[in-house]
Amino acid sequence: MSNKMTHLDKLEARSMHIIREAYANFKDLGMLWSIGKDSTVLVWLTRKAFFGHVPFPLVHVDTAFKIPEMIEYRNNYAKEWKIDMRYGQNEEALANKKTFSDGNCTRIECCQILKSEALKATLHGTGPRYRFNHETNEYDLEQNPEPFTGVIVGVRSDEEGSRSKERYFSPRDKANDWDVGNQPPEFWNQYKTDFAPGTHVRIHPLLDWTETDIWEYIQREDIPMVSLYFNQGDGKRYRSLGCYPCTFPIESSSKTVEEIVEELKAGKLKTIAERSGRAQDAEDGGLETLRKDGYM
């Protein structure tokens, strides 16, 4: 066997190292799982880092508008991979019908309410949080949910401009603010893992991956993906997943992972942004506003 590492080998090793560092340094650690391709690769890398196990909770923010296949997929793999699965939801807003679907706010406002706010409340343990019960296959309401001080997130630096300045370990202060101009240095596999009380950290093991890397890795590792990413015969597939009122498929004939990789490498999607099917991005401010707000 050769010890020459390929590009994917190197990306994989670095991500695994970072995930293990996060696990060693943060007691209340969680990982966001959006069910999309990036965070599913992240879950896979976690299983690689821990030899088949996922030793910390995965957290999903369920807006209640997710495409049903996504929730089904989440529950199936939570079961199969023995995951400590949690989800949170902005139940108050849903009860008051403060959503875009109900015509009571804009797309961006809806994202802020159902994603950003729900995420904050779920992570901080101030909102309702449910935990998958592996015996009953039901979700139980968590009593006294603990706040997470370290959160692993699947952002990639090629997704959007400011992310290329992100660090692997990115501190956030009490107000959730990210100080782009004054970030900790990172070198020699050493990251900021020492924190003053009250701060928490976002950990980004996928920072160096591109969309093509993600799909090539899915192909190499044969990682099961939710079927929405593939053309089911109508010449359409999703390139990025979200809520059904605001997410639209792109024109693509790709039915398999191989075909998606081909499509990306041939540059067929070069002129279409990855998140072009996400209607909220097109609104004023878009992703930038949401990202600053804590939605990733």
Binding site: K10, A49, G52, P55, S157, K165, E186, F187, A273
Partner: protein, 571 residues
């Protein structure tokens, strides 16, 4: 298809020496720009009666980057015929040195830009120095703006000579110097008619000639990130996990962990979702199980017993660069992280501080932000490391000041801390030790706990001895094997052949004997409690190896200390 080559390059240099221009040219000459983009920017410049600069082109690309295919806030992407490149643009302003270091540390090679008209500036030197400290071995120096000095070979040679001399002083050899005009494209992706005297590689060729390989370091080194055991999921493997910094490891290899010096053999190389493996290599995030179960934890370095031994000490000399907001000062406490080991340390001495602007060493008792210096560090506990000339990756460390990574360094010399003789004796002892037929794991099962040495330290009259008796009794009542071994009993027992008067030599020898007995009791599975006065030399604490905990007693709430012990035993 998975082997498509990628390479990360960092471009550094003094501010305004033309990094953006060189990048812009590279993009243009490799047809990496969106169609019509260059003309569009040139047109805008004309309309605003500004002279065109490639920096504007980069700004324009940043503004509209549809998908970050060409560029984003910190990186530029392009392809040559040979491979894909990611060029990390490191800011030339000194305030952004942290970002320069972060970018450079991710790179496999570097381009360093010097302005032909301005010549070698402070940051040309500082960046060169940092690249060498960060371990980037492949550096190409671009002497840019040759058009401004009329493509004059003599002037170029003077700059090359001056910078080469600087590089040789810091022990670096540049792969190449290239005279370039980024603005006109001379020697960027084509050869230049204006400089027929230069016939070597242009920038693009030099990039393609960088070798894409991780540095092959020989001796196996794996800083242990953790030892995993996921029994709750029905998995009984105990896996030692970490990223291999150097060398390789195979099944059956005999492994020794430093600084604990515990030994075992590799039983299996563990891997999820892949072919069965016999070996693991440099760069991999690896994991292996051991034939004999030993207690080791995060922070140890796994080595191959047949290969070069790392240094073990509490004192060493290092070259550092300082990024902290507060100055680095002598005798102040910092946290040092080497590999996965994290210990408290003191700066024993600042030997010299290098002035990057003139390369002169000066004597100072503090190191200011952005300076580099030679210092002597004294750690609280033993650490395992290598000298940078032997295994560079395990010679590297960072210093943490007030939660922040504030500096980085490489160890150049191990300094005797007065314990090296003892370490040698210990190694010989371990080498010749006749092992028990009952393994430590079997013994633990039998006794229901791990062995442990509890060092109770405190001032005279603080109640150390009473506290030790209290804990001993409580543990025994809980059915644990515990024994309090007072120093006094050693002095009057196995120590009768040497003087009871405590000069440095006799104290050290009495402590050595105390620790040897403690070691034997630990091997027998016993929790040993020893008491020492706070005034005793800190070095003596290193005598106790194995699973050790120190309790500093400052009030008489013994119950509290007992609970601490229970917590540690539970871990």
């Amino acid at each position: 298809m998975f082997n498509e080559e990628n390479m990360s390059i960092v471009i550094v240099g003094h501010v305004d020496h033309g990094k953006s221009t060189v990048i812009g040219r590279l993009l243009h000459d490799t047809n990496s720009l969106p169609e019509g983009k260059l003309d569009q920017v040139k047109e805008t410049c004309k309309r605003n009666s500004k002279p065109f600069e490639y920096a504007f082109l980069l700004d324009a690309l940043k503004d509209e980057q549809a998908q970050g295919i060409t560029i984003d806030a910190a990186r530029v992407f392009f392809n040559s015929d040979k491979r894909k490149y990611i060029i990390m643009d490191a800011p030339g302003h000194i305030e952004f040195l942290k970002n320069m270091v972060t970018g450079a540390a991710r790179a496999e090679a570097a381009l360093l830009v010097i302005d032909a008209q301005e010549g070698v500036m402070e940051n040309s030197r500082r960046h060169g120095y940092l690249l060498s400290m960060l371990g980037i071995k492949q550096i190409v120096v671009i002497v840019n703006k040759m058009d401004l000095i009329d493509y004059d070979k003599e002037k170029y040679d003077i700059i090359v000579e001056e910078y080469e001399e600087f590089l040789s002083e810091i022990g670096v050899t540049a792969s190449k110097f290239i005279p370039v005009s980024g603005f006109y494209g001379d020697n960027v992706a084509s050869h230049s008619d204006n400089m027929s005297w230069y016939t070597d590689d242009n920038v693009l060729e030099a990039l393609d000639n960088f070798e894409n390989k991780s540095i092959e370091e020989s001796a196996f080194r794996m800083p242990v990130q953790d030892v995993y055991k996921f029994t709750a999921n029905g998995d009984d493997r105990r896996i030692v996990a970490g990223t291999i910094d150097s060398g390789q490891i195979s099944i059956k290899d005999e492994i020794i962990f430093y600084p604990s010096r515990k030994k075992s053999r590799v039983n299996s190389i563990e891997y999820f979702n892949g072919d069965v493996r016999q070996s693991a290599y440099i760069g991999q995030a690896a994991g292996f199980t051991l034939e004999e179960q030993i207690y080791i934890s995060r922070g140890e370095v796994a080595c191959n017993i047949k290969e070069l031994k790392p240094e073990i000490s509490t004192r060493f000399k290092a070259k550092i660069f300082w990024l902290g907001e507060d100055d680095l000062v002598e005798n102040y406490e910092y946290i040092i992280k080497i590999g996965t080991k994290k210990v408290t340390c003191k700066i024993e001495k600042i030997v010299s501080v290098l002035d990057a602007s003139n390369l002169n060493n000066k004597i100072a008792n503090r190191v200011k932000r952005h300076e580099v210096a030679d210092i002597i560090i004294k750690t609280d506990k033993e650490v395992a490391f290598d000298l940078s000339e032997n295994v560079s990756s395990t010679s590297r460390f960072v210093l943490i000041d007030n939660y922040e990574i504030s500096g980085g360094g490489i160890i150049i010399e191990s300094i005797d801390d007065g314990m090296s003789l003892l370490r040698k004796q210990r190694e010989e002892r371990d080498l010749n030790w006749y092992k028990s037929g009952v393994t430590s794991e079997e013994r633990e099962k039998l006794y229901g706990h791990k062995p442990l040495t509890i060092i109770i330290s405190g001032d005279k009259g603080s109640g150390r001895k009473s506290c030790a008796r209290f804990i001993e009794k409580k543990l025994c009542m809980e059915d644990k094997k515990a024994y309090y071994l007072p120093f006094n009993n050693v002095v009057h027992g196995v120590g009768t052949d040497i003087s009871k008067y405590k000069d440095e030599y006799t104290t050290k020898e009495h402590f050595r004997r105390l620790s040897e007995i403690t070691n034997i009791l630990n091997l027998a599975g016993v929790i040993v409690i020893v008491t020492i006065q706070s005034s005793v030399d800190d070095n003596y604490k290193y005598f106790f190896n194995g699973n050790t905990v120190e309790l500093q007693i400052d009030d008489k709430d013994y119950e509290y200390y007992y609970k601490r012990v229970l917590e540690i035993l539970d871990k």
